[in-house]
């Protein structure tokens, strides 16, 4: 018998670590008997293995490549507590109604992750596995973070409750609008749109994702003009108003400089884009917390990896990461507007952002129970192709803790921007009043709006212009489970 060191080759440990290639499942990344610990980070992937690749082996490969494995056996594993550090695929089940696709549940030991770092978390979970050859496609559907890990993050810089207290606005969704056209306006003309919209009745106006510092309007000029507009609107209404000043820039140094200028001018809020990256987002969240500023995040770029159901990262996972990272506002869909959004799926995103605790809710795409351990909530933002005529649907689907952003629905109003803002505010307040009075706004919505329009000509004009506009296209990102499912995990 051949001897390896001082043991025989029949020794199981020696056999396991003999140089060569093993299946991932045989390397210890598949364990159907594993019971996830309360302290484990859990992930659920939708996997589409190549023809002939066993689903359990594919799941094990994902677990391996997102934790400790490489393609071949390495003896240096034996210098570590490698059993503990190996992620374990512990459950694989076929996706209902989708032949060739499987849901793979994987558990990761807490010590695999640096405390309080979304960059480190994502480097493991999505760092290496998405181009893996034995898989045709891979999608990260959901994650569960143990309380011990959640507590290493500061969470939203402000949070929904404190945001409302600072703004002194309760009991209704907030109203916003993005300045249009989003590119090309001079600073003076841009601030005009802000002033008209805010004094007409909106709470917020917003820079768009790609307004930074361009030849037609440099950032300081935008900030100065917008803050003149915000302060004028506050004086004529007696309300707190805000404009999301987008501080997205090429470097952190530039972003800090712009954010500090926004603060010095008295802005209550600054804005960043998702494309700046997770580390930059966490840095800005820390800055916002330190400087008493609300932090708005525009999810620029997310559609490249969230929309298709078979490959990428579900937006519910991005939403969870952003709650850990610490933003206060996040665009999360409208359901009724012009952008992708199945009602159940979008409500799932909203629940992830706002609730202190998420139960398993397969119908809304939530596969794991999540305790947010006192972490503040993010205000979801509904933006894109919505108008006053949909107010009853928006309030029913999205609830009170949301920012409804009517860009075209304010600026495109036939009587002007200010009238457009007034129409939205009156429609909203009338709908909240009616709901609180116990009326069935889902059915009576159009009648409630017509009644309110009797004392508000701008609302009448808005309903006449857009009342019939709908965006009725099938969603691509839909739940896999129909009502009354059994709980997974």
């Amino acid at each position: 018998m051949k001897r390896i060191g001082n043991r025989t080759a029949s020794d199981p440990a020696a056999e396991r670590y003999r140089a060569g290639v093993l299946k991932y499942a045989q390397m210890g990344y598949w364990d159907s008997g594993y019971r996830p610990k309360d302290t484990d980070v859990l992930a659920m992937f939708r996997i589409t293995p190549q023809e002939g690749v066993d689903a359990n082996e594919a799941a094990a490969a994902v677990a391996g490549e997102s934790s400790t494995a490489t393609w071949t056996v390495v003896w240096t594993d034996r210098l570590t507590a490698c059993d503990r550090y190996r992620a374990k695929a512990y459950k694989v089940e076929p996706v209902p109604g989708a032949p060739g696709q499987y849901f793979a549940y994987i558990a990761y030991d807490l010590d695999l992750f640096e405390p309080g770092s979304v960059a480190n978390l994502t480097a493991s979970i999505i760092g290496n596995v998405f181009g893996f050859k034995p898989l045709k496609a891979l999608r990260l559907e959901d994650m569960r973070f143990p309380v011990a890990y959640v507590k290493t993050f500061a969470g939203p810089a402000t949070g929904i409750i404190v945001e409302r207290e600072r703004l002194d606005k309760f009991g209704r969704p907030l109203l916003g609008a993005t300045v249009k056209p989003k590119l090309g306006l001079s600073g003076k003309n841009y601030g005009r749109v802000v002033y008209e919209a805010l004094q007409g009745g909106l709470d917020f106006t917003k820079d768009d994702e790609n307004i930074n510092s361009q030849p037609f309007m440099h950032w300081r000029d935008r900030f100065l003009n917008c803050m003149e507009a915000v302060n004028r609107a506050q004086a004529v209404s007696g309300e707190v108003k805000g404009h999301y000043l987008n501080v997205t820039a090429a470097t952190m140094e530039d972003m800090y400089e712009r954010a500090a200028f926004a603060r010095d001018l008295g802005s209550v809020i600054v804005m960043i884009d998702l494309v700046i990256g997770y580390t930059a987002i966490q840095s800005m969240a820390r800055w916002a917390r330190k400087n008493d500023m609300i932090l708005h995040l525009h999810r620029a770029g997310h559609g490249t990896y969230t929309r298709q159901k078979n490959h990428g990262v579900s937006f519910r996972v991005i939403a969870k990461w952003m709650r850990l990272a610490g933003v206060d506002h996040l665009h999360a869909g409208t359901i009724v507007g012009k952008l992708e959004g199945d009602p159940n799926t979008v409500q799932g995103f909203y629940n992830v952002l706002r609730e202190p605790h998420n139960p398993v809710d397969l119908q809304r795409g939530i596969f794991f129970e999540q305790d947010w351990a006192g972490l503040g909530g993010i205000m979801p933002v509904a933006s894109g192709g919505i108008h006053a005529g949909q107010m009853h649907q928006l309030l029913t689907y999205l609830g009170d803790d949301t920012v409804l952003q009517f860009g075209g629905g304010t600026i495109g109003h036939p009587m002007g921007i200010s009238a457009g803002a007034t129409a939205n505010r009156v429609a909203l307040e009338a709908m909240v009043l009616a709901r609180n009075e116990g009326r069935d706004i889902w059915r009576e919505g159009p009648a409630i709006l017509s009644e309110a329009a009797r004392h508000c000509t701008p609302l009448r004009a808005a309903l006449d212009t857009w009342g019939e506009v709908t965006f009725d296209y099938a969603s691509t990102d839909t739940p896999d489970f129909v009502p009354t499912p059994t709980a997974a995990a």
Binding site: I161, Q234, L433, N436, E437
Partner: protein, 138 residues
Amino acid sequence: MRLTQGTFSFLPDLTDAQISSQIEYCLQRGWAVSVEHTEDPHPRNTYWEMYGNPMFDLKDAAGIMREVDECRRTFPNRYIKVNAFDSTRGIESLRLSFIVARPQEEPGFELLREEGPGREVRYSMRSYATRRPEGHRY
């Protein structure tokens, strides 16, 4: 001007029946209702004068309406609002806050600009009413 703080300021002034049904909505959810008044409507004036403590133990909209009414009679020319507090863990804050009475004339706010270096401006807002001492503003 019309001060548009509060949940329903863009609607015509609420009738007593409308106020009462909003209070009813709050009571059904277990929220504690309170009444506050002020002569200083600056948006950063978080602390309006309390017309008594929040009515934690009063579960009857008619009873709360009597408090609202008494406050309106005591201060016939001030801003008065009704608040609802939710003590649920994770909220522990206001859930609804709306104006139920306002002065006959609302003079509004002056915007003050202090020009700084470059084009920087420091803004502040001042209610025209608060130039006069408390008790003589409206």
